[in-house]
């Protein structure tokens, strides 16, 4: 049997696990591991400029490929810098394995240099964590970590490795385990067939059905089944922010996103629905608005792999715990053999009603913004969609630009839309775009951002230079923290407390040039399309488009809160439902 040191075993385990990229940043406690990385030819290490970016990049890679993203950081500040990215992945159920160096075992607890209790600090934001006690445990621990991170409801797993454990001084017999068994961990697979039958029955009896599909459909690779089910039944589909792309965004049956900034038709249809099929969605507070007023006439079928997500905020009438792919597959089988079919008359009426809503206030029937004066952020996204043929992988940061991208870029396929939905992490967009580009080398990757968010991880422009990552950055520059400003307009009488930059922004064009990238400034509507085309023609360059947009623009629709129902929305600054 092969004899390897702890550090070598760790890297070899990653190789044998099939890991292609590790995103990381070296430091004292991780140096033995980095030496092993240096000598390993299979696992490629990507040096970021800040550990937060390592986690976001690994996260972006995971979202695009479906494989666990891998992060390697040192102890102390390296580990704590990774925390925001771990929390981001945790909230969105992204598979990730984070390896953190730790001070030597005999120093743990002594407040040693660069010591942080990483297992303790990360505890509430990981699916599980390990502190490796001796080198011989490494292969098994790595195998378990990947198994836990990628199965069931995915999530980040931390492996904290004290420096002595990776020491080159001692070697051990190395064998990477083929199988793993954890006696306390049995992720759900098949759903309860009795419950699935009940659900199909209820679906077929529905008069005003809505399919409400979330990120679980993307994570569980069940878009095909979802689309088939929706088509077969001819039921309307709405997506959560995380679910966008799981159903084709340009399909007639698609109502758009629901929730706080969801479309009028999606939110109104949800409110009036009699049966809601929730799949891989978790009735997040940004979706339900006031729970006591949520969808008063609806019976709810809730399919989720995580039992704790079911009946957490909204009581399910037919709960089904299982993988969305398997449950939807079983539903399709039942439908195939079913003698009953949906009530055609009722469904026609329902579609007529929905189309009427669409006609009146729909986001896509006509422009819901005024295309005069300064460039509007919405039209930038529309133009972006056109120029990229709706094919680009789009990452975003957090704020108004994120909502505009979600609303105005109809996504065709799952894993095309990458954003921090749960935690809402500014700074996510650029590093996530890097990870996405590593995952899909041939695809165009665009980061939609704002001049606020981009500055939270702007140092990664240097990483883009080092690895020739030709991501395109579309910065909707309104010279303000747009979403904060919007809330200050709506709830604080326009007192813009600390949401304005007051002429302190850098010259982004010059900044890009200094990194060796291309910067473009757009201020006129007439040049927008041409400049975008110019940008995407530069296939092998990072291009940053600094697009000056109307500062006063708000994101609409916007649900009325607090105490609003799904259908209570502001449709513009002056119209309310």
């Amino acid at each position: 049997m092969e004899m390897l040191s702890g550090g070598d075993m760790l890297v070899r385990s990653l190789q044998d696990q099939g890991v292609e990229y590790v995103f990381g940043y070296p430091g004292g406690s991780a140096l033995h591991i980095y030496d092993a990385i240096f000598r390993n030819k299979a696992v490629k290490h990507i040096l970021v400029r800040h550990e937060q970016a390592a986690t976001h990049a690994a996260d972006g890679y995971a979202r695009v490929t479906g494989q666990a993203g891998v992060v390697l950081v040192t102890s102390g500040p390296g580990a704590t810098n990774a925390i925001t990215g771990i929390a981001t992945a945790y909230m969105d159920s992204i598979p990730m394995v984070v390896i953190s160096g730790q001070v030597p075992s005999d120093k743990i607890g002594e407040d040693a240099f660069q010591e942080t209790d990483m297992v303790g600090v990360s505890r509430p934001i990981v699916k599980h964590s390990f502190l490796v006690k001796c080198a011989s445990e490494i292969p098994d621990t790595v195998k378990k970590a990947f198994y836990i991170a990628t199965t069931g409801r995915p999530g980040p797993v931390v492996i904290d490795v004290p420096k002595d454990v990776t020491s080159p001084a001692e070697t051990y017999e190395y064998e990477y385990p083929k199988k793993v068994k954890i006696r306390s961990y049995f992720p759900a697979e098949k759903g309860h067939s009795g419950q699935i039958k009940k659900a199909v029955q209820l679906l077929l009896e529905a008069k005003r059905p809505v399919i409400y599909a979330g990120g679980g459909v993307v994570l569980g690779d069940a878009s095909k089944q979802l689309t088939e089910l929706a088509r077969q039944l001819n039921y309307p589909v709405t997506n959560t922010l995380m679910g966008l792309g799981s159903f084709p965004g340009t399909d007639q049956q698609f109502l758009g996103m629901l929730g706080m900034h969801g479309t009028f038709e999606a939110n109104t249809a949800m409110h009036h629905a009699d049966v809601i099929l929730a799949i891989g969605a978790r009735f997040d507070d940004r979706v339900t608005n006031t729970p006591s007023k949520f969808c008063p006439g609806a019976k709810i079928i809730h399919v989720d792999i995580d039992p704790a997500s079911i009946s957490k905020t909204i009581q399910a009438d037919v709960p089904i715990v299982g993988s969305v792919q398997s449950v939807l597959g079983e539903m399709l089988d039942l439908l195939k053999n079913s003698k009953t079919s949906p009530d055609e008359q009722a469904l026609n009426d329902w579609w007529q009603q929905i189309n009427d809503w669409r006609e009146r206030h729909g986001l896509y029937t006509k422009n819901r913004f005024d295309s005069t004066g300064q460039i509007k952020p919405q039209e930038v996204i529309q133009a972006l969609h056109e120029v990229t043929n709706g094919e680009a992988i789009v990452t975003s940061d957090v704020g108004q630009h994120q909502m505009f991208a979600a609303q105005y870029y109809p996504f065709k396929r799952p894993r095309q839309w990458i954003n921090s939905g749960g935690l809402g992490t500014m700074g996510f967009g650029l590093p996530a775009a890097m990870g996405a580009q590593f995952g899909e080398r041939e695809q165009t990757v665009v980061c939609v951002t704002g001049e606020g968010s981009i500055q939270m991880c702007i140092q990664e422009l240097s990483t883009c230079t080092q690895y020739h990552l030709p991501v395109k950055i579309i910065c909707l520059n309104n010279q303000a923290l747009g979403m904060v400003r919007q809330w200050q307009d709506l709830h604080y009488d326009g007192r813009y407390s600390e949401s304005l930059y007051e002429e302190s922004l850098p010259d982004f064009v010059k900044l890009m040039e200094s990194y060796g990238h291309v910067g473009m400034r757009v201020t006129e509507r007439s040049e927008l399309k041409a400049k975008l085309e110019e940008c995407f023609a530069m296939k092998d360059r990072v291009v940053f488009m600094d697009i000056y947009v109307d500062q006063s623009e708000h994101v609409y629709p916007m649900q009325v809160a607090p105490n609003g129902a799904m259908r209570d929305m502001w449709l513009s600054k002056t119209e309310r439902t």
């Binding site: 836990i148 006591s292 957490k312």
Partner: protein, 172 residues
């Protein structure tokens, strides 16, 4: 329709088997603080199988909160098996040690009280009795009330341990 109704609250005894490993306990306890649940009592010790610890806790919550607690506990990788003992008939025991002032004519009265509660005096000085009482939590509460506050010097309670009645067992 589907709002969660927060009905009446009740005391529950949740007992679980978890990996006897570092960090396991902190994950269980952390879950409670992280999600805003209460722990009233907590006991934990290894079982006959040294790789497992048995942890018993009591908590107060509505049906819905208890359901979320058990679901989230079950999700923890270190938790192997779990039972809500209050769902079935069960035996509940807690051990209490009480240091009581016992001088003069109080000595006899405290002794009588201990006898009534079937406790034992496990340590004696000329002025102090140390009393041990075992029973369900409300019996322990009753004893504390019975010997009036002024006489009690110190109270130590173990927290609740429990086991299901009859054939039902919590094991691998």
């Amino acid at each position: 329709m589907a709002e969660i109704k927060d009905g009446g609250k009740s005391v529950r005894i949740i007992s679980l088997l978890m990996e006897n490993a570092p960090g396991a306990l902190s994950r269980v306890v952390g879950l409670f603080s992280q999600r805003g649940y209460n722990i009233e009592t907590l006991t934990v010790a290894p079982t006959d199988d040294n790789s497992l610890s048995r942890l018993t806790l009591t908590t107060i919550g509505s049906e819905h909160v208890i359901e979320q607690i058990t679901k989230n506990l079950n999700k923890l990788i270190d938790v192997v098996k779990l039972v809500d003992l209050t769902e079935g008939s069960h035996i509940e025991r807690e051990l209490m040690l009480v240091k009581v002032k016992a001088s003069g004519n109080l000595r006899e009265e405290v002794k009588r009280c201990v006898d009534i509660f079937r406790g034992q005096i496990v340590d004696v000085t000329s002025t102090v009795y140390t009393v041990q009482i075992v029973g369900a939590s409300d019996k322990l509460d009753a004893f504390v009330q019975a010997v009036s506050d002024a006489q009690i010097l110190e109270v130590v309670r173990s927290g609740v341990s429990g086991i299901a009645r009859g054939e039902k067992v919590l094991s691998l």
